[in-house]
Symmetry: C2
Subunit: 343 residues, 2 copies
């Protein structure tokens, strides 16, 4: 196992100090600030941990012990919530970008960059016909050996959540390392993973515009992304579709409306569409797998969906786990879902 | 020309308001702050533009008019320098991450995402033998049509500066769009561009460790990156090497020590190595092109290098332009340098 995944840059100006017992000390230099607090995404939404100032004007807080995982955190300095200024590992968002901390484990975890063959992740730009010709990027994972092989691979379309970007599943979710590890262990079929940008109408639009996002996004996937992927990459016609939160809603919407196109449908802590019942007229994809954390604000919606599917006798798997609405849960779900695909 | 490059996310929560006369208003919500100032990378290092608070606690400043370009900016809130919390377009750095603003032009600029065929950018991970097996990423631009063709392409190795990451030339420099535009206009040979991470010893190491960076980096390029590139991508043996600032120093070091490997050497606002004179024993690459801005703190070092090369009768091109030590200058240099390659 590696000490450092070095996603973007080597960290020496340690923004975080991780203690042997997995408690973590965070610090921020802000001599003039009156009140600084800390938030980590394992905490309840809106909770704050006060930080304490030393004689040099550095504020500190020690939290944990934390389970080994990758967490998102931010500081609030006199009312302004900010990312950690000296940590280049970030979740980039519209509101509000935040920082990442990785608590390592003694055992191997699914999302760690281990010393196994690595796939690559390619950023592709295209002018989306479904979105007025706008230039937008989709990210594509290709498995180890793709460039040297002539094989065709099945494709998983994987969608992010509302306050995220096309890069989120890689930069925060470590989807590429999860796939690398599963493939190396013989637990997953080598596959291509396509990660588009989920906001087909601008993020933060008025409610009536925002409501159109899922149908414009569906159009964008079918008319722009899928033809581009199938024109460029060596792919079979075996496809799966999955997403988290908003992206889980999108995967349910598109997967149920086009079951002939997808052999598997996954939804992680999904914003289940309000019209999901109506979509059930069609036969669902062969594998229909969804999951939610018991501390997630979308738990009731997912339980209701499970109940509806059971009543309608639609074959599905519903998993409940401990955990809130965070990537800590979604990495685990991806690691459980991917081995079920393309078998 | 496009309204929006949509690198990562659509911006609606406008962090910046760009006026028709190319003045720009920046804002930050910070009701409790006592003093907020603004810095943009067209300003003198250390300069600050005060911001003014309105009745709702939003601080604003209007700057410019600015020449059309992409600029880096930050806020300083009661002594803490931060990126714009609601702008996901960032330059990620060790100290201190900052935000990007793009001032559009009526005419077409080299770094804009135009409606031309786009290349792709692939992130590759490998365990670097030269760096103790650490997992690190290098980014690779492939030109439009690469995946569908069987051709081999020449390779430009392109290095970033000290406070930057492997993604900097793409995310901030728009190197991919610069190449797309030049290739579409028939002004550049289609080529592959390899962008490794430039810190082979940890950034911020003690001076005596930091001094070894260039030789460890050279080893990393020759033993890890070049074999990986030549094993994976369809490449010819025609190579060029270039970089900005620290990366310019690295390109001079490696290019002069291995002139048989590179047909061209470029250095943009380079941290010219102190031992550059000694490296000149070898015959330099065929094309030796370097440039510096007249407002750059490295101007004297570059002028001195030009003088040395002239005295030693080493064939080279030295360009001086207006501008400081920023990507505004480096985008332009890349757009001038690339058309000279592989002819």
């Amino acid at each position: 196992m590696l000490k450092n995944t070095l996603f973007l840059i080597a960290l020496t100006a340690a923004a975080q100090e991780i203690h042997p017992d997995r408690r973590v000390t965070f610090s921020l230099e802000a001599p003039q600030a009156k009140e600084v607090s800390f938030f980590g995404d394992w905490m309840k939404a809106g909770a704050k941990e006060p930080m304490t100032k030393d004689a040099k004007g550095v504020w500190r807080v020690t939290v944990g012990p934390l389970e080994p995982n990758i967490y998102i955190y931010s500081f609030t300095v006199d009312g302004v919530t900010i990312a950690d200024p000296v940590n280049p590992r970030m979740k980039l968002r519209a509101r509000t970008s935040a920082s990442l901390v990785e608590v390592p484990a003694d055992t191997e975890l699914p999302w760690q960059a281990r010393d196994v063959p690595h796939g690559a992740v390619e950023i592709n730009w295209q002018h989306a016909k479904a979105i007025g010709g706008e230039a937008r990027a989709f990210w594509v994972y290709t498995p180890p050996g793709y460039a040297q092989s002539k094989k065709k691979y099945p494709v998983l379309y994987l969608f992010h959540g509302s306050n995220d970007t096309a890069g989120g599943w890689v930069l925060v979710g470590h989807a590429n390392f999860i796939l690398d590890n599963l493939i190396a262990a013989g637990k997953a079929t080598p596959m291509i993973v396509v990660m588009p940008f989920g906001h087909a109408v601008p993020f933060g639009s008025p409610r009536e515009v925002q409501a159109k996002n899922v149908t414009v996004f569906e159009d964008y996937i079918l008319r722009d992304v899928m033809p581009a992927v199938e024109g460029k990459y060596r792919v079979t016609k075996d496809r799966a579709i999955a997403g988290l939160s908003m992206g889980g809603g999108q995967s349910i919407h598109i997967g149920l409306r086009h079951p002939e196109m997808f052999s598997a449908l996954g939804a992680f802590s999904a914003a289940v569409p309000e019209n999901a019942g109506a979509l059930l007229n069609a036969a669902p994809p062969k594998l229909f797998w969804f999951a939610c954390g018991r501390q997630d604000f979308l738990l009731d919606r997912n339980r209701g969906f499970d109940k509806l599917l059971t009543e309608r006798k639609v074959k599905h798997v519903y998993r409940e786990t401990e955990g809130p609405h965070t990537y800590s849960v979604w990495r685990q779900y991806l690691a459980e879902f991917v081995p079920l695909l393309f078998r």
